[in-house]
């Protein structure tokens, strides 16, 4: 009887350990939509506008198929309904990987990382492995560089991907802000 008890209950525990990370959200601000909205409207929205203006300096024709020599498909992010926080988390974590792309101007990629870190901070989210959010303290401790490096405006794959990522992040924040403002 003692062996039967352990035989029946033992598989359940590993199952719970395996399944729990899938459904558990790594964002802690899920139920604090008012606080999220206030911080987004007063602080983050201005930073996103600045980042979009910097992105507009790079022409859109760079990201069309004719200019893209590598013809790689750009990863598209969707802002899923009822999963806006997870979508924003995914976009912010993906945008952090451009921080070390040397072919992108330093000011541009730093600003993108800054917006990603603030998004994760407002939502109190963490990135999946690898834990890219560990670069955020370094980002916050770095002085805000003005738009000094304007020379690097060439059409690179990384630039196209970053522009797409920025556009998706802004659209998803607008959608989420309208939902939580109701």
């Amino acid at each position: 009887m003692f062996h039967a008890f352990f035989r029946s209950t033992l598989p359940v525990l590993p199952l719970l350990l395996v399944l729990s990370p899938v459904n558990a959200s790594s964002c802690a601000m899920r139920n604090k939509t008012t606080e999220i909205r206030v911080k987004y409207e007063n602080i983050l929205s201005h930073d996103i506008n600045e980042l979009v203006n910097m992105s507009a300096v790079y022409p859109d024709r760079c990201c069309k198929s004719g200019k893209n020599k590598r013809n790689e498909t750009i990863k598209v992010f969707f802002c899923n309904d009822t999963e806006e926080i997870e979508s924003l988390q995914s976009m912010a974590c993906n945008m952090l990987r451009f921080l070390n792309k040397q072919r992108i101007s330093k000011a541009f990629r730093w600003k993108a990382a800054f917006v990603s870190c603030r998004t994760l901070k407002i939502l109190q989210c963490k990135c999946e492995r690898p834990k890219k959010e560990k670069v955020c303290p370094e980002v916050f401790n770095t002085e805000d560089t003005e738009t000094g490096e304007q020379s690097k405006k060439k059409c690179y794959q990384e630039v196209c991907e970053l522009k797409e990522n920025i556009s998706s992040l802004r659209s998803c924040w607008n959608k989420f802000e309208k939902i939580i403002s109701r």
Binding site: V38, P137, F140, E143, D144
Partner: protein, 425 residues
């Protein structure tokens, strides 16, 4: 040490301020030079501390993350640490406004005060500030006005005329998200108020009074005129009465009076000589009649050669012509003959034709239808042109023309009257 700790415990938010600019500056004021302040923040389970820089009595720290709370710790010489947590968005002190401009609007008698703030070009505090404008007469008491906009208006009626005023501005977060303290006052701007405008106002008020009185009097006069002339002139013109058909027909069909002289019965014209008149001959006669004195001497003998013609002057031969009403006796009225003849042309001898009466005369007792009546000779004339008195024969005058449409051998025509039309029919 004790004093330092007590001071630390009394440290409040008023001692710290956050200047929000491109980089956030946290300032702490401490008068004690032996104190070291450190600032720490906890992000992603990392607790990072940094010493604040000291400049005179102010400690500075620059950072860009305003979402995290800050712990400010004071370290004394005794290596004791006292910390306090600060929400950086609640201790915001804006930058000083600048460029104050005062403009006087004469028509409105208002003073427009404009100013600028450095946060208009920045991202966080733009449109998130409230501004306070203070003004006073020189050496007077300050009065304040708050506004979220970058301009205000002072009414001229609330200010003294021809006086010197000064104005200054400061800013503060509006409290929606960012909270904090007032900024420092801007530099004062002086301006002088305009002269009193009572003359203009009094002049305009007098004009208004006069115009209102005139308007009132005019309205009274108009009302009186309307009341007086309503029945006689206004109402008939505006709302004319429709004709009553019954009354109109009665008027048309009204029987003539008993003593009405007009009659279309041909028998009533029995005592009037009716002669045919040749149109051309009548015209010629009229011309002869209207000629000067020589003309009658030459023409008359021909006309009256042995014949005193009974003629009637045609109706329309000259401007001097006239319709001679004929009485029952065939006697022309005196006034008509006077007008036609003119006493200067044709003298009348006494006894035969008095100046007051004229009679139809004829010469050879020729039937009247063959004769023409010549008024120019009231009495028949002899070839010499002198009027010749002749008695009037009533019978000949009243004799009816037997044949009115017969021409006389010497082209004597008679007038055609309504009775002839009746007979022709």
């Amino acid at each position: 040490m004790e004093s330092h700790f007590s001071e630390m415990r009394e440290m409040s938010k008023q001692d710290s301020s956050l200047t929000v600019s491109n980089q956030i500056i946290l300032m702490l004021r401490r008068n004690d030079c032996h104190v070291t302040l450190a600032n720490s923040t906890k992000d992603y389970n990392n607790y990072a501390c940094s010493d604040m820089k000291k400049q005179e009595d102010v400690f500075f720290l620059q950072f860009i993350d305003i979402l995290s709370n800050r712990d400010v710790c004071m370290y004394s010489d005794m290596k004791r640490r006292v910390c306090r947590s600060l929400v950086v968005t609640d201790i915001v002190k804006p930058e000083v406004p600048f460029a104050i401009n005062v403009t006087y609007e004469r028509e409105a008698n208002e003073y427009l005060i404009r100013y600028c703030t450095p946060h208009s070009r920045k991202k966080y505090l733009k449109d998130k500030l409230v501004h306070q404008v203070a003004y006073r007469r020189k050496e007077g008491i300050w009065k304040t006005i708050e506004s979220p906009y970058l301009q205000i208006k002072l009414l001229g009626k609330n200010l003294e005329n021809e006086a010197s005023y000064e104005v200054k501005v400061r800013s503060q977060p509006n409290g929606d998200y960012f909270k904090g303290t007032w900024s420092e006052w801007s530099t004062s701007k002086s301006f002088r108020t305009a002269r009193e405008q009572r003359s203009t106002e009094s002049y305009s008020s007098v004009v208004m009074v006069i115009l209102s009185i005139l308007g009132f009097m005019l309205s009274i006069v108009m009302i009186a005129l309307i009341v007086v002339f309503w029945e006689n002139r206004i109402k008939p013109a505006v709302w004319p009465d429709l004709p009553d058909h019954k009354k109109t027909l009665e008027q048309l069909c009204k029987k003539p009076k008993n003593n009405f002289d007009t009659s279309f019965n041909p028998e009533s014209f029995g005592n009037v000589h009716i002669h045919k008149v040749d149109g051309l001959w009548a015209k010629a006669e009229l011309e002869n009649f209207l000629q000067p004195s020589i003309a009658p001497e030459t023409s008359l003998p021909e006309k009256f050669r042995g014949v005193s013609d009974l003629r009637m002057i045609p109706v329309m031969a000259d401007k001097n012509s006239l319709n001679l009403p004929v009485s029952d006796k065939g006697v022309w009225p005196a006034e008509a003959l006077h007008r036609l003849l003119g006493t200067s042309q044709f003298a009348v001898t006494e006894g035969s034709c008095s100046s007051s009466t004229y009679e139809v005369c004829h010469g050879n007792r020729v039937p009247l239808h063959n004769t023409a009546f010549n008024l120019s000779s009231t009495c028949s004339l002899d070839p010499s042109g002198q009027p010749h008195p002749e008695p009037l024969n009533d019978d000949t005058v009243t004799q009816m023309l037997p044949n009115s449409d017969m021409r006389s051998p010497n082209n004597e025509e008679a007038y055609v009257t309504m009775s002839n039309f009746y007979k022709i029919q």
